[in-house]
């Protein structure tokens, strides 16, 4: 059996992922997390927190909750069903920092945890920062307040 026919054979027998159901779960869980975030924001604002401070505190609160759920080994159970619903909100970023950190602690604090904590956060921060430098450069060249 050559590679090509094996690939066809395997893909025909692979479990079909149920896209409509996945999308529904992603919508409900992802939307729910964002609505929850909005509710937390309203709570902080009601306590008299300044708007800019609340904008930082809300994602930090979600990150802390995700970190605890990941530590208690509860996050993966939710994420398995929610798919992109937990991946795309900041919860997915937080889980991608905490989970490899926990798994690699035994390999050491510097070569293990210290390196692996960035295994997903690293690329996200790298390419995000590069894009922001590109934007800043264009923004300056166009003259602040110019076309962009």
């Amino acid at each position: 059996m050559n590679k090509r026919t094996y690939k066809d054979y395997a893909s025909a027998r692979a479990a079909k992922s149920d896209t409509p159901k996945n999308c529904l779960f992603a919508f409900l869980v992802g939307g729910g997390i964002c609505a929850f975030a909005e509710a937390i924001k309203a709570g902080y604002l009601a306590l008299g927190t300044e708007k800019e401070t609340a904008a930082i505190l809300v994602p930090c609160t979600l990150i802390l909750l995700t970190a605890i759920l990941t530590g208690l080994d509860l996050f993966d159970g939710i994420a398995k069903h929610a798919g992109a619903g937990t991946l795309v909100p900041i919860t997915g970023f937080a889980n991608a920092v905490v989970s490899p950190a926990m798994d690699s602690r035994k390999e050491g604090l510097v070569p293990g945890l210290g390196v692996r904590i960035f295994s997903v956060a690293g690329p996200v921060i790298l390419y995000g920062t590069l894009a922001s430098v590109l934007y800043g450069t264009v923004y300056c060249l166009c003259g602040a307040g110019g076309a962009i």
């Binding site: 992922s17 896209t19 996945n22 999308c23 992603a26 919508f27 869980v29 992802g30 939307g31 964002c34 609505a35 975030a37 909005e38 937390i40 924001k41 309203a42 809300v58 994602p59 990150i63 802390l64 970190a67 990941t70 530590g71 208690l72 798919g83 992109a84 619903g85 991946l87 795309v88 909100p89 900041i90 997915g92 970023f93 937080a94 991608a96 920092v97 905490v98 950190a101 926990m102 798994d103 602690r105 035994k106 904590i117 997903v120 956060a121 690329p123 996200v124 921060i125 390419y127 995000g128 920062t129 894009a131 922001s132 430098v133 934007y135 800043g136 450069t137 923004y139 300056c140 962009i148």
Partner: protein
């Protein structure tokens, strides 16, 4: 009533951003890590061309909580730093705008890894 409306708007926009990612996962070979990177870069670019700001005004946390919102913070940080300090803001603005989230994730990640035992391999 205004709170309920803002919750609904956050739910709808945040949910839709997740559905787009779910379709990308199901229909393409993009891995979750690539999706996260794409979302952050897309957030920077959409903010740069002036599309993401209005979405944040409309949906609040529905637009800032997904990873595109991380990109929005990077871009807004750069814009603000350039306005305040000039071109040096190109270098200082992005990470300043996202410092809270990055620091919270790293601190929480390190502490949790210290406190909780590693998951047994399944």
């Amino acid at each position: 009533m205004t709170l309920l409306l803002s919750l609904l708007k956050a739910f709808a926009v945040g949910g839709l951003l997740c559905v787009i990612a779910q379709l990308l996962i199901d229909k393409t070979a993009l891995t979750p890590a690539r999706i996260l990177v794409s979302y952050v870069v897309a957030g920077v670019l959409l903010t740069a061309v002036g599309l993401y700001g209005p979405l944040v005004d409309f949906a609040g946390c529905g637009a800032t909580t997904p990873l595109t919102g991380f990109g929005y913070c990077l871009a807004e940080g750069v814009k603000k730093a350039i306005a305040e300090k000039g071109p040096i803001g190109i270098l200082t603005g992005g990470l300043s705008g996202t410092a809270g989230g990055i620091t919270a994730a790293l601190t929480a990640g390190w502490l949790i890894a210290m406190i909780f035992p590693a998951k047994p391999k399944k």
